[in-house]
């Protein structure tokens, strides 16, 4: 493990204020970046191998290089709508070190020549929004934002925009619609935001953690940064470990560290020495992995090879005492509630799945329903407009595939329980039905 990058001095009191940030070398990298040619800066970002930390893992520098050159208005939008269940890393970054994000964002804005920029923060992050607002005001006051910053020719504006509580607004195009004042629905891609994004202008959208990593890249240089981590997964990553572990929280790790080390050494593993039933490697929308997968390295490619995704870096640990049906229920409820309703498979498929899991819980399902439920997940995956549908279908599909026995057992238990209750009710009401007795 190298020294921390994103979390350097993270717990120092007052780091969220500009004076402390400056005293720790803040905004120095911005000054260096502004002296670089834009092309070189983008090459540097590409060379670092930094991959998007929001969930999709697309190489950040490559995305920036897609932004067309020209006189049109370009934008950088920071996605701070951290809504994926289990993910809470951006919250800590914003709350404790907002200037790191702002510095990174300004560097990115300079790289693509975006003079108007936004941070879109989820509505529930009230305190963090206030902190960011204050930090932006400080940065403006000190001349890091505004006209011709730091004596360069680059003028840059940054505004904070707050969401209203929709998961779908974390999807980049849904976010753009919301930012434009519309109903937050994903857009058809292509055109990709790099070509036609906010207000139809070329737009670079990146996650809080991605942008916050930029000052470190400038500081270490592309090669220095790429030396951290493993091939195609360079740098450090914040992981939010939650669920059945002793020490849930955010940890900055070098990509490629073994997953077992993260869950057991950092987070302390499940309480009372319980076994791990399954774990979500990258937020609740990723297919679950099991205890057999604990020894794989925590990096993009290794997790993908194991059949899941690194996603947002949120590890949710589920121990042996938990019910998979309950798990599926929570997932289906969340995603059907958050489906925007624009495309058919997600709108109907998530709601249908939720109703089916509900029936398992009520005791009115049969094992045949599991086949239908698994088929419905297949019918969702790859058919949707955005990834929200897949975000439910993949974990639920993987739960059914990996824990079918448990589902069937619970179906049986719940049916028996329901029939017993019914029989009691009938008996109490003195109704006699053939074949049912109390």
């Amino acid at each position: 493990m190298t020294d921390t990058l994103l979390f350097t001095n993270i717990d120092e009191p007052g780091l969220n204020t500009i004076d402390v940030y400056l005293a720790r070398g803040g905004y120095e990298q911005l000054g260096r970046a502004l002296k670089m040619e834009r092309e070189d800066l983008i090459t540097e970002l590409s060379g670092s191998g930094l991959r998007g930390r929001g969930g999709a893992g697309f190489p950040m520098g490559r995305k920036a290089s897609f932004i067309p050159k020209g006189d049109m208005q370009k934008y950088v939008v920071c996605n701070a709508d951290e809504s994926e269940p289990g993910t809470f890393k951006d919250r800590e970054l914003i709350q404790k070190n907002p200037h790191q994000l702002i510095e990174g964002l300004i560097i990115a804005a300079y790289a693509i020549d975006a003079t108007i920029n936004y941070i879109y923060i989820r509505g529930e992050y009230d305190q963090q929004a206030d902190i960011l607002d204050a930090a932006i005001a400080e940065a403006r006051e000190r001349g890091f934002l505004g006209e011709k910053i730091l004596g360069s020719d680059f003028s840059v504006q940054l505004e904070l925009s707050r969401g209203a509580g929709a998961y779908i607004c974390g999807e980049e195009t849904g976010l753009l619609d919301s930012l434009e004042g519309k109903r937050g629905n994903p857009r058809l891609k292509p055109p990709f935001p790099a070509n036609e994004g906010l207000f139809n202008g070329p737009t670079l959208i990146n996650n809080v953690e991605t942008l916050s990593a930029i000052p470190s890249i400038i500081k270490l240089g592309a090669e220095g940064y790429a030396a951290i981590g493993v091939k195609d997964s360079s740098g450090t990553k914040l992981v939010s470990i939650s669920g059945n572990v002793e020490r849930p929280g955010n940890y900055e790790i070098e990509l490629g560290t073994s997953s077992r080390e993260l869950i057991y050494d950092l987070a302390g593993g499940p309480v009372d020495g319980r076994a791990i039933k399954c774990w979500f490697p990258g937020g609740s929308s990723t297919p679950v992995l099991t205890a057999d997968d604990l020894d794989i390295g925590y990096d993009y490619d290794s997790i993908a090879a194991a059949g899941s995704m690194l996603g947002s870096g949120a590890i949710i640990v589920v121990d042996e005492t938990q019910s998979v049906v309950e798990l599926a229920y929570k997932l289906a409820k969340f995603y059907s509630h958050e489906s925007c309703g624009k495309c058919t498979p997600c709108r109907e498929g998530t709601a249908w799945t939720f109703h089916m899991v509900e029936r398992i819980k009520e005791g009115t399902a049969t094992p045949m329903d599991l086949d239908i439920m698994a088929a419905v997940q297949e019918q969702i995956i790859g058919h949707c407009l955005c990834v929200l549908g897949d975000a439910m279908a993949m974990p639920i599909g993987s739960l059914i595939a990996k824990f079918r026995d448990e589902f069937e057992a619970e179906i049986e238990t719940n049916r028996n329980e329901r029939e017993r209750k019914l029989a009691e009710e009938f008996a109490a009401a003195e109704v006699e039905i053939e074949g049912i007795s109390a």
């Binding site: 309703g341 709108r347 019918q379 058919h383």
Partner: protein, 823 residues
């Protein structure tokens, strides 16, 4: 933006090579060029760019790992597409199963059943089984989305078409989706009924029975009806329509998509005013005045009496011809008037005769812009007209141009326009001062001083400069969409010259994609002029042997007793002519008033001696000419109601009885005669016109159009706009809803306008008038009352009143200044 150049690409669909224009969406290209149907729900090219929401159209494209939505992938060279693989079939079945889980499947009682894209797609691509046993979504049903449209939210498949239409086509921004996920439903933004000029289009857009027409609900099943294609003649836009006919009754009007005319949309008047064909108020038998009242009589008596009265009046007969008259009727009327009665006093223009040379110049084929030009021009100048009222469907076309093709929209009008918010610049001038405004604009473009002309027009000189700058910088292709009122009234010839000069300054003559497009006052005004229904022109806009009286002069001559008889062919001068007072006098004095009318409108009811029932447009055959020179064909779609007879036959019969038989045995004989006699129609035939019409100005015969003088013309100084001095300048407009058909249609009657007095907030405050209050507008002892309507965009010093309404029309007042006060 100029039209995109079509470039063909080659792609392979299901193993077959297909050529299609680059950029076309795969679903369209497959159907049109590959004979492969890719099912869709949410996509319809006419709504705008695809959104890929329903996912019905998933296909496999080689080289792309995920399935793609065929509605939203543009075809490219070398693309290899599969629409019939097991993967695609599985996706189609999956999507249909999903769509159907919440659909009530109440097809047997659904209006859409039998013509339902959901039924068709389910039959063609669905799996045929559902595994869904949970309860379906429930909503209260059916609900009135508006007096015209019912919404059944249970049937809705959330394809977004109606919402996108409201947001991106009509831009009325009323329809929205509320809630999300499976709870999403369509509603209006403010919960009020969806009332808008073009709301009915969502009924046709809906791919299920969620949005149904309230007037049509439960009136027929698709297998009970026949579709009959014709043209709507309720306004100059002449949209192509298809009548749904059951037992000789029109039960519904649908669009008959025509890119060159209506772009697939209809206004609510066009969609619902068919009801007026089948109402009791309609005149369906001949009537004669007897003891002061109109009473039904036999055809024989009516024709014989009319022939006698007209013979008696002879050359002392005048005729006013309304815009709904066909070319054939127009020609037979000129035969009756000129060659039979010896009178040249006939007119189809309410604004006074325009100098024939100028009329030719304005109608010269090389100066004519087409409707699609509005969508692709660099800039469109809307001059002295309000498209949404005057030719509604053009309003949608202009919005499309601005939204999708970067057209720079510029507006010069007296009354605030519905299009103002889409315009790059809007300028206001005093009512009736279009001439001075056009002259100012022309002068500014010519590099001369425009300030004094702008002031004469009552316009802000800076506005004129701004418009001229925009026009100059926009690009070569400029279309001027102008209203007939610019060439009406005492300064009509000067107005025409100013307009022609403006066109000359912009170099619009003989330039592709540029030109003039007039919105005339009547549906077939253009055709009627071209076949010589003018006091100063013969057929084919030739010189008249003798120049007769124009509409106003006919009125004056009747009032003075110089004329004794008048024929009102689809014309009610108390609704259509600028001065009601003159026509009250004229008709009061006339001894013979023969009207061809469908409704007993004021002049007919009070003054006609003989009323012949007019055919409705669904009953009529003949030709009309679209303002952009497209000759279109009306086809008889239902039997004539009641005793109604063909009007062309009646006009021929009248002439024959008076002693000059035009020898017209069929309507098509008359059409053929017109094609022979109008030099620039040469070679046309009804077959050639067919179902889509043909623009004569694009044909070779257009070279035979009579020569016209060329701009620039010398202009004399226009009179200055009246200075209000505490009074208000009177402007008038005709609402889209001001028509007897709207008034007579039960479903639309709620929209039929009552007088409203549009004033600016400043004037309202000065006069102590609140919105919605009763106010009186008076001049020279005449007055009308109406409800005050304060419009933020209305210019100070001006009041706007409606014309063409039976009670309290602006035509009752004499301008230019009026007094407005609380009643």
């Amino acid at each position: 933006m100029p039209r995109p150049v079509e470039k063909l690409v080659s792609l392979t669909i299901n193993g077959n090579e297909v050529q299609a224009p680059a950029g076309m969406m795969l679903a369209d290209a497959a159907l049109k060029y590959g004979d492969v149907e890719i099912p869709v729900f949410c996509y319809d090219a006419k709504i705008g760019p695809p959104v890929g929401a329903c996912r019905m159209c998933l296909v496999e494209i080689e080289g792309i790992p995920k399935m793609q939505a065929g509605c939203s992938v543009a075809v490219t060279d070398g693309m290899v597409v599969h629409t019939d693989t097991p993967t695609v079939k599985a996706a189609q079945e999956a999507v249909l199963e999903f769509i159907l889980i919440n659909h009530p499947l109440d097809c047997p009682v659904c209006d859409k059943g039998g013509e339902c894209p959901l039924q068709d797609n389910a039959f063609g691509w669905g799996g045929g089984l559902s595994r869904f046993i949970e309860p379906k979504r429930h909503f209260e049903k059916p609900l009135a989305l508006s007096p015209l449209i019912a919404i059944d939210r249970e049937r809705c498949i959330l394809c977004y078409r109606c919402v996108r239409y409201s947001q991106e086509v009509a831009e009325d921004f009323q329809l929205v989706l509320e809630e999300r996920g499976a709870d999403t439903f369509v509603t209006t933004f403010d919960g009020h009924p969806y009332v808008a000029p073009f709301s009915g289009n969502i009924i046709e857009l809906c791919p299920v029975g969620a949005l149904t027409s309230r007037p049509y609900r439960f009136r027929a099943r698709p297998w009970d009806i026949e579709q009959a294609g014709s043209v709507c003649t309720l306004c100059p836009a002449q949209c192509n329509v298809s009548f749904s006919v059951r037992d000789e009754r029109v039960l519904r009007v649908l669009g008959r998509d025509h890119e060159g005319v209506d772009d697939g949309w209809l206004c609510d008047k066009g969609r619902f005013a068919y009801q007026a064909i089948h109402v009791d108020e309609r005149v369906t038998e001949p009537m004669m005045r007897d003891g002061g009242e109109l009473r039904p009589v036999t055809w024989e008596l009516a024709i014989e009496s009319a022939a006698k009265l007209l013979s008696h009046a002879g050359a002392n007969t005048g005729a006013l011809v309304g815009g709904e008259t066909t070319n054939e009727e127009g020609v037979l009327l000129t035969h009756l008037m000129r060659e039979t009665l010896g009178s040249n006093d006939l007119d189809s223009r309410p604004g006074g005769a325009l100098d024939l040379e100028l009329l030719r110049a304005l109608n010269a084929p090389k100066l004519q812009a087409s409707v699609p030009d509005l969508q692709y021009a660099h800039a469109v100048l809307v001059l002295d007209c309000e498209p949404v009222d005057d030719a509604p469907i053009l309003d949608l076309r202009l919005r499309k141009g601005v939204r999708h093709h970067g057209v720079k929209l510029l507006i010069g009008s007296s009354r605030p326009s519905a299009l103002d918010e889409r315009a790059a610049h809007s300028a206001r001038f005093a009512p009736g001062c279009g001439e001075a405004f056009a002259a100012a604009l022309g002068a500014e473009l010519a590099g001369q001083s425009s300030a004094s002309l702008a002031e004469a027009a009552g316009a802000d000189p800076a506005d004129v400069v701004a418009l001229a700058t925009q026009l100059r910088e926009a690009g070569e292709e400029v279309v001027i969409l102008w209203g007939e009122r610019l060439t009406a009234g005492p300064r009509r010839n000067e107005g025409a010259r100013a307009l022609l000069n403006l066109a000359d300054q912009l170099g619009l003559n003989d330039r592709d994609g540029a030109g003039l497009l007039e919105i005339p006052s009547g549906t077939n005004s253009r055709g009627l002029r071209e076949v010589g229904v003018l006091p100063n022109a013969s057929i084919g806009l030739g010189d008249a042997a003798t120049v007769g009286r124009d509409a106003e002069q006919i009125g004056e001559a009747l009032a003075a007793g110089d004329l004794s008889a008048v024929i009102l062919l689809h014309s009610d001068p108390l609704l259509d002519q600028p001065s009601s007072a003159l026509w009250q006098r004229a008709l009061g004095k006339a001894s013979t008033v023969i009207a061809h009318a469908a409704f007993l409108t004021p002049a007919v009811l009070e003054h006609a001696n003989i009323v012949f029932p007019a055919e409705s447009y669904a009953e009529k055959e003949g030709t009309v000419v679209h303002p952009d020179s497209r000759v279109q064909r009306l086809r008889r779609s239902i039997a004539r109601q009641g005793e109604t007879r063909a009007e062309w036959a009646l006009l021929a019969e009248l002439a024959a009885r008076i002693g000059n038989d035009p020898k017209a045995l069929t309507c098509s004989m008359v059409s053929a005669r017109i094609f022979e006699q109008v030099p620039f129609y040469a070679g046309l035939s009804l077959d050639l016109i067919g179902g889509v019409g043909i623009r004569w100005s694009e044909r070779e015969a257009a070279a035979s159009f009579p020569a016209a003088p060329a701009a620039p013309f010398t202009l004399d100084a226009p009179p200055a706009a009246a200075s209000p001095n505490g009074l208000l300048r009177l402007g008038s407009f005709r609402s889209i809803w001001a028509s007897p058909e709207v008034e007579a249609s039960p479903a639309l009657a709620f929209l039929h306008p009552r007088q409203r007095v549009e004033i600016s907030p400043g004037d309202a405050a000065r006069l102590g008038i609140a919105h919605g209050e009763n106010v009186t507008v008076a001049s020279n002892g005449d007055s009308v009352t109406g409800l005050a309507h304060i419009r933020a965009a209305a210019p100070d010093g001006t009041v706007f009143l409606q014309t063409s309404i039976p009670k309290g029309s602006a035509a009752l007042l004499e301008g230019p200044l009026v007094e407005v006060k609380r009643s």
